[in-house]
């Protein structure tokens, strides 16, 4: 084994062999399966090339499921960014004691990984028909969540509020370093030049943070768009979003056309890929200031 690196005479280009296990594994269990789906999206039943599957995405319940998925993802990422930014800013800029930063970051690490079935149960137990908050509001104020406030946990807003539980922590984890990267000198320089706090934020801090903010928004969007387990455990099949429909399609070909299923999966890849490309591109831009 060691001859490849110690032999000084003639170097055969064998170093790439070290990557072989990784490359084979990733090809077999990540790239080939994905390629299979992508290629299948452009094939008809007999294997010939077609764009009909992509056209068929515009039929039946599929467009509405994409639309509602995108709406939930946008709503939960926008709110997640806003609230996460507020919480991170409160800690970083010293509105609250600095000692709260470490516990908040640790908790964010936990909560951003607490997605899936258990998260759905937590929200059912709290905002569901006999949940803690539901009962509290009904018994003490006579407010019935669904009737008086129009809020049901099995709805668009229900799912959005549930997704926030992993969206906000993710935002906190990503934006805190960016906020800490804002140098004190920049603020002082702005003040010396006569800027007010509002001007400093509008003309200095915000433009610097903007790529980070937008990039994180894209990441949160992809995160919400691909979430399957939380949605299934919470709503069953009550809410017609893309991952739930795809899940049903994989289980039992409910669309009656396997290639249409591939096209749906391909559509998911396209949406999350765009979001991630936006994230990566903006993060590179943001890092110019963070050196």
């Amino acid at each position: 084994m060691s001859t490849a690196s110690t032999a000084p005479r003639r170097r055969l280009p064998l170093t790439w062999l070290g990557l072989l296990p990784f490359v084979i594994f990733v090809t077999l269990f990540l790239i080939l399966p994905t390629m299979y789906i992508v290629i299948g999206a452009f094939q008809d039943r007999s294997g010939g090339f077609t764009l009909q599957n992509l056209r068929d995405l515009n039929t039946g319940t599929i467009p509405s499921s994409y639309w509602i998925s995108i709406k939930i993802s946008v709503a939960s990422s926008a709110l997640g960014c806003l609230i996460g930014f507020g919480m991170a800013a409160a800690v970083v800029f010293g509105a609250v004691p600095k000692a709260m930063k470490a516990p908040l970051m640790t908790f964010s690490g936990v909560a951003s990984n607490f997605a899936g079935v258990p998260l759905a149960f937590a929200f059912l137990a709290t905002f569901g028909p006999v949940g803690l908050v539901t009962l509290f509001l009904r018994n003490n104020f006579g407010i019935v969540l669904q009737r008086d406030l129009g809020f049901s946990i099995l709805s668009f807003w229900g799912l959005t509020v549930t997704y926030l539980f992993f969206q906000i922590p993710l935002m906190i984890l990503i934006i805190t370093p960016a906020l800490e990267g804002l140098r004190r000198e920049w603020k002082e320089a702005a003040e010396v030049l006569g800027a007010t706090t509002a001007q400093y934020w509008r003309m200095v801090a915000f433009p610097i943070l903007f790529p980070s903010l937008l990039g994180t928004f894209a990441l949160l969007f992809a995160n919400a768009f691909g979430a399957v387990a939380t949605a299934i455990a919470l709503t069953g099949s009550a809410l017609n979003i893309v991952p739930i429909q795809l899940f049903a399609q994989i289980r039992g070909d409910v669309l009656g056309n396997p290639n249409l299923g591939y096209a749906m999966a391909f559509g998911m890849i396209v949406v999350t890929a765009i979001a991630n490309i936006v994230y990566i591109w903006l993060r590179i831009r943001a890092e110019r200031w963070m050196k």
């Binding site: 070290g18 990557l19 296990p21 080939l32 399966p33 609230i83 640790t106 137990a125 999350t272």
Partner: protein, 263 residues
């Protein structure tokens, strides 16, 4: 900081913390309500005594351990090799390891089902053992971004080239170098990757459900539809496990900071 700023900060933070506390409170409270009128641990007792819980939980723990072993076997040599011999390949390898974050898990498993079905060249889903293996491979792919980043960060803190040369001049082969020199040096990083993998695998739903394996995630979802209080007790347990894993990561990172010689 102005009074106004302080006030806004506190309001935002308290609002956020209330949002996080309520579901956890609601979940815990509900899981204790199995006996009418009083709080009790009945739901927990019932759940833990349920043979299906023991079976599925054991299965998922087993899966997590296999996934961690696979992850270490694939990631450590690869990250080491890239750092030592092929630094130019790092961006590409890193890009590939980030792909599981871009491609939704449900799409990957969809590909597995079609690519490795009984009539394919590698009929993994044809047998139970094969499907188990496929699930473990899938989990390894899902954990790849976290595992690779953790190990690569760990390797950055040590002098890979010098350690390798020192070991080589003492006559060590690659297996010895990896197993007895590199791995012990990045153990804290490997452990944080491992705990994160554990937290991901233990409650994972999509892959296990679609490959039809008796794992903890699908079991949780199934009894959620059928039983009144037990699912909530299970969710508390699942949250406890996630919390424990994250706590262990913190502990390991802190421990590793102290164990390093001051330069």
């Amino acid at each position: 900081m102005s009074l106004w700023g302080r006030l806004t900060g506190w309001i935002v933070l308290i609002f956020g913390l209330t949002y996080f506390a309520l579901p956890l409170l609601g979940l815990t409270e509900f899981s204790l309500k199995a006996r009418r009128g009083v709080y009790s641990l009945d739901a927990y007792a019932k759940v833990i005594a349920d043979p299906e819980f023991q079976a599925t939980f054991g299965y998922s723990v087993m899966m997590a351990l296999v996934t961690i072993a696979l992850g270490i076997l694939i990631v450590v040599p690869t990250a080491f090799w890239v750092r030592l011999k092929m630094p130019w390949a790092r961006p590409y390898v890193e890009f590939i390891t980030l792909m599981p974050l871009v491609i939704p898990a449900i799409v990957i498993v969809f590909g597995y089902i079609r690519l490795y079905n009984t009539s394919s060249w590698l009929p993994l889903t044809g047998s139970i053992m094969g499907t188990n293996l496929l699930l473990a491979f899938g989990y390894t792919i899902l954990a790849l971004p976290y595992m690779y980043r953790a190990v690569d960060t760990g390797l950055r803190t040590i002098d890979v080239a010098t350690l390798t040369e020192a070991a080589q001049s003492l006559g060590a082969g690659w297996v010895t170098i990896l197993g007895r020199v590199i791995l012990p040096n990045v153990i804290p990083a490997v452990l944080s990757g491992a705990f994160l993998t554990f937290a991901i695998v233990i409650g994972e739903f999509t892959l296990a459900a679609l490959l039809d394996r008796p794992a903890f995630g699908p079991y949780l979802q199934r009894i959620g539809a059928n039983k009144p209080y037990e699912p909530f007790a299970l969710a508390v347990i699942a949250f406890g496990i996630t919390w424990a894993c994250m706590g262990l990561i913190q502990l390991v990172t802190r421990f590793s900071k102290h164990s390093k010689v001051a330069r």
